[in-house]
């Protein structure tokens, strides 16, 4: 089948030349050039440990959900990378490369290390709360909220700081406060374990979230409930 071989050859041989920047359990991330622009390519490679049919269905679903959520966020004015091209045969997404940016994770880590400007981190917490409130008001559940999945674009500082959300692979649409509460719980766990002594900073984030979201009280209530679940937690009603 020379015809399909040449198709399969295009994206994979392109990826061979591209620069791989990360390999996760789910996907490999590359940087490359596409139509003259710098792009990030997210390749959801086949998982051999899964049944092939299940793998194909699941991978395709993850890809389409990711792409749908990004579009939904952008339509509402929430920054997420622009999708340039999706190859549904190899499950590759070609996205805008957010250059001159640093992950919020790295940013907080270095700000804490140099111990300067606590006010700056307060503003960051405010901005994160704001953007998550907007996202949840659009009924988009990110599914994998961590500070590594938020990018801070360098240049504009303080009030004008720009945050970009990335990695919508586990995202879905839901209006339920429970799902939004869990989304925030995931962030809280990731935040507090990655960045020591940031409890007050996270409090500030939640305050900003409450102030920015129209439906926040139900969500925060659920967050409190979810916190009472889980490991080493008493489920005594």
């Amino acid at each position: 089948m020379a015809h399909s071989d040449s198709v399969k050859a295009s994206v994979p041989s392109y990826l061979k030349e591209a620069q791989m920047i990360k390999q996760g359990a789910e996907a490999r991330v590359y940087r490359g050039t596409f139509l003259g622009r710098s792009v990030i390519i997210k390749e959801r490679f086949p998982k051999l440990y899964r049944h092939p049919e299940v793998d194909e269905k699941l991978t395709r679903r993850r890809t389409t959900q990711e792409v749908r959520s990004i579009l939904r966020c952008r339509r509402a004015g929430i920054s997420a990378p622009v999708v340039y091209f999706v190859d549904y045969t190899t499950h590759c997404i070609f996205l805008e490369d957010i250059i001159h940016s640093v992950s919020v994770r790295d940013h907080i880590a270095s700000a804490q290390a140099s111990e300067q400007n606590p006010q700056h981190l307060q503003t960051l917490a405010d901005k994160i709360g704001e953007i998550l409130a907007q996202m949840h008001d659009e009924d988009v559940i990110h599914g994998d909220l961590t500070t590594s999945n938020m990018l801070l674009v360098s240049g504009a500082e303080d009030q004008n700081m720009k945050l970009v959300l990335i990695d919508f692979g586990l995202s879905y649409i839901s209006a339920l406060p429970e799902d939004k509460g869990v989304d925030l719980y995931v962030l809280e766990k990731a935040f507090l374990s990655t960045h020591p002594r940031t409890e007050t900073l996270f409090e500030r984030l939640l305050k900003s979230y409450s102030a920015s979201s129209k439906k926040s009280s139900a969500v925060i209530k659920k967050l409190d409930e979810v916190r009472l679940r889980g490991r080493k937690r008493s489920m005594v009603g």
Partner: protein, 175 residues
């Protein structure tokens, strides 16, 4: 004046764009595109934000062409279809293709890199003035584009109009 870009994913292919204004023979040009005298896509520049938008459409068209998954019958009609934010083929041709009364046209050619493209031949067929492709903003209708692609002011907070348009083009199969 014309713009050429290689398709990184399909190294044998190159996309060349030519832009013309004050075109007087749109009817003839349409006929030439249909009978194959001009082997290219004739696009209405009023709906084009930037040359990149055309490249995204062309890249997707070549990809689908190579995998045998095009929705339309030819590579060139597929490029026109890919520009549209909807999956209605005839609507895409109506809005993005050229009509007999149009006075501007953007010609898109997809060819082999090694093929010596006779650009002058194509230019001679157009009764109009060729201008640089990056001047397409002189000929486009931003309000019409925003309306057709349904771009709200809030979306422009996180990106340009081109970003909004390209994102819709890339995701319309699942949106």
């Amino acid at each position: 004046m014309h713009l050429t870009q290689d398709l990184e994913l399909f190294p044998e292919y190159t996309v060349t764009q030519l832009l013309f204004k004050d075109v007087k023979n749109a009817t003839e040009l349409r006929k030439m595109a249909v009978n194959g005298e001009i082997k290219g896509a004739l696009i209405n520049p009023s709906m084009v934000v930037d040359a990149f938008q055309i490249l995204v459409a062309a890249n997707k068209a070549v990809h689908l062409h190579k995998s045998g998954k095009m929705k339309t019958r030819s590579l060139y009609s597929e490029i026109i279809f890919n520009l549209s934010p909807t999956n209605n083929i005839s609507e895409a041709f109506k809005r993005f293709g050229i009509s007999d009364s149009d006075s501007a046209v953007l010609i898109v050619l997809v060819h082999n890199k090694d093929e010596t493209l006779n650009i002058d031949n194509i230019i001679s067929k157009v009764d109009g003035q060729q201008i640089a492709v990056d001047r397409v903003s002189d000929l486009n209708d931003v309000a019409k584009i925003k309306k057709l692609y349904k771009v709200a002011p809030q979306e422009e907070k996180c990106g340009s109009l081109l970003d909004a348009v390209v994102c819709r083009m890339a995701t319309k199969d699942v949106a």
